[in-house]
């Protein structure tokens, strides 16, 4: 199991760690039993993600994928954020070991969960827009 330099960089210097007190959307995914929890905080202005923070309990890949996912959506429109795939996160990190791919799915789903929360707070049913939030199966 080998991490790329990018993964190690995002692990040791994670971007956007922290909380947003008055976040417009907060999503949490995973559970401590499985060893990974990601929590995403979004600040949204005019359909644009103006700020994003995360907290993660998990392995190196969990931290790195969280960090990379926040980088990939920061300053982007909600539409763009909804297009974020776990594959894009993996590619941006120069790959992930096979056993760690589920972390990238978690990161993708954490973004969706936060957006889902945002829509719910706006009184809009998130499901037609964001879809169901799925936690990846452990293999």
């Amino acid at each position: 199991m080998l991490y790329s330099e990018k993964v190690l960089d995002h692990f040791s210097n994670p971007r956007n760690v922290g909380e947003i007190e008055d976040a417009d959307g907060v999503g949490e995914i995973g559970n401590a039993k499985c060893g990974d929890i990601m929590k995403m905080y979004l600040k949204i202005d005019d359909n644009t993600i103006t700020d994003v923070k995360f907290k993660t309990f998990g392995c190196g890949a969990a931290v790195a994928t969280s960090s990379m996912a926040t980088e990939l959506i920061k300053g982007k429109s909600i539409d763009d954020a909804l297009k974020l795939t776990n594959q894009a996160v993996v590619e941006a990190l120069d790959g992930l070991p096979a056993v760690k791919i589920h972390c990238s799915v978690l990161a993708e789903q954490a973004v969706r969960a936060a957006l889902s929360d945002y829509y719910t707070k706006q009184g809009i049913d998130p499901v037609p827009i964001v879809g169901e939030i799925k936690v990846p199966e452990e293999e």
Binding site: M1, F11, V17, A32, C34, G35, V63, V99, E138
Partner: protein, 396 residues
């Protein structure tokens, strides 16, 4: 604080010692003969192998003819367990007793046997990581073929009451095997005195090469082969002898068993200082009995953080450590050993094993005790689990 390099993962593997490498070197390019060959180059190789066998035997209180070289500790475990199973099945004995927190080389072997008509009883361990010999007595049945209990646990370092267990097995007429991969060189072993029928060991835990191990099989006990073929190891283990690695194992085990008490006297206080220092952090616990444990081992759970992240951070600070068994670090499940102590999954995920030897100095201990709290604080500050804990919420 200057960065140091501290290898604190000797339970995972050790560096080959200078002395061992020096003994091995001539056997790569000069004394490279096949130990089965009749000419001098071959006879010299055979002599070297037999000298190593004597050293291994001596270190264990065994006779040379009771020692069989294998390719690793895992092979020795597989051979002892599958061999005994095959042997005893002929007598209608198809029940095996082991513990829940054995190394996977034992557990996956017994699980394999379960799929092939054997019944296996997994003895639980106490919250201190100790086996009660009376549990074994109770589990022994008419058809019990084998009891296999590890000498010292690889993750939490707890030392089991091997002599008592062996005595019960003999009283009941059941064969007893112990996986002593983590014990050899750290505790005094005398297979004859202790009544051990089979014992597995591995070279790379005691400064010999990876890929060499041995199985002690009490004389009189004839196990079926695991690896069939040529007549090596008196026909019991085929494959051209790995002369350099075998020679190295002989030198390594001699060195490792030479001054066990003196080494422990140096290591134990340092280890204890590490334990006490890390336990000052809130929400931490020592896993495994504090006293009945290997001198160099400590295993601490640190709530609110995850082990792999901790290890990577330690690595960035020059400290090599482990979280659970090295073999399973690719896996997502928390350690079965820690779960067997009754730990919750989330707590088991956040544990750290240090296994030190004499080369880890007092200054190294200071350094570790400086680095670990900083890393823990950092990881907790970004941990949603820690956040909830601090709010008094449940998180599992």
């Amino acid at each position: 604080m200057e960065k140091r390099f501290i290898y604190a993962d000797n339970a995972a593997t050790t560096a080959v010692s200078e002395e061992v490498l020096a003994a091995m070197l001539p056997h790569f390019r000069e004394a490279y003969g096949n130990a089965s060959s009749i000419y001098k180059l071959g006879r010299d190789a055979q002599k070297a192998v037999e000298t190593a066998r004597e050293k291994v035997a001596k270190a264990l209180g065994a006779e040379p003819r009771e020692i069989y070289f294998t390719s690793c500790g895992s092979e020795a475990d597989n051979w002892a367990i599958k061999g005994t199973a095959e042997l005893m099945a002929k007598k209608g004995k198809k029940h095996i007793i082991t513990s829940v927190f054995e190394h996977h080389a034992v557990l996956h072997t017994t699980e394999y046997l379960e799929k092939h008509g054997f019944e296996v009883t997994y003895i639980p361990v106490s919250d201190k990581g100790l086996i009660d010999p009376e549990d074994i007595r109770k589990a022994i049945r008419e058809d019990t073929a084998l009891v296999t209990i590890m000498y010292a646990n690889n993750e939490i370092g707890t030392i089991q009451p091997i002599e008592e267990i062996a005595a019960i097995c003999h009283e009941k007429g059941v064969l007893f095997h112990t996986d002593a991969v983590q014990a050899v060189g750290h505790v005094e072993i005398d297979v004859h005195k202790q009544g051990i029928d089979m014992l597995s060991l591995s070279g790379h835990k005691i400064h010999a090469q990876k890929g060499i191990g041995a199985l002690y099989i009490r004389k009189g006990l004839v196990l079926p082969n695991l690896i069939h073929g040529g007549g090596q190891e008196r026909g019991k283990r085929a494959g051209t002898e790995n002369v350099p690695a075998i020679v190295g194992l002989g030198v390594a085990i001699e060195a490792a068993t030479r001054n066990i008490a003196e080494k422990a006297a140096v290591i134990t206080p340092r280890r204890n200082r590490l334990i006490d220092g890390i336990l000052k952090l809130p929400y931490t616990r020592l896993n495994g009995d504090r006293d009945k444990r290997l001198p160099g081992n400590l295993n601490i759970s640190i709530e609110g953080i995850e082990g792999e992240s901790l290890l990577l951070m330690l690595d960035m600070n020059g400290i090599c450590a482990s979280s659970g068994s090295a073999c399973t670090s690719g896996s997502l499940d928390p350690s079965h050993v820690l779960l067997s102590l009754g730990l919750k999954h989330a707590v088991a995920h956040g544990s750290m094993r240090l296994s030190i030897e004499e080369d880890v100095t007092d200054e190294d201990v200071d350094y570790i005790l400086e680095v670990v709290p900083k890393i823990v604080e950092r990881l907790r500050s970004m941990s949603p689990v820690w956040e909830r804990m601090m709010k008094g919420e449940d998180y599992e």
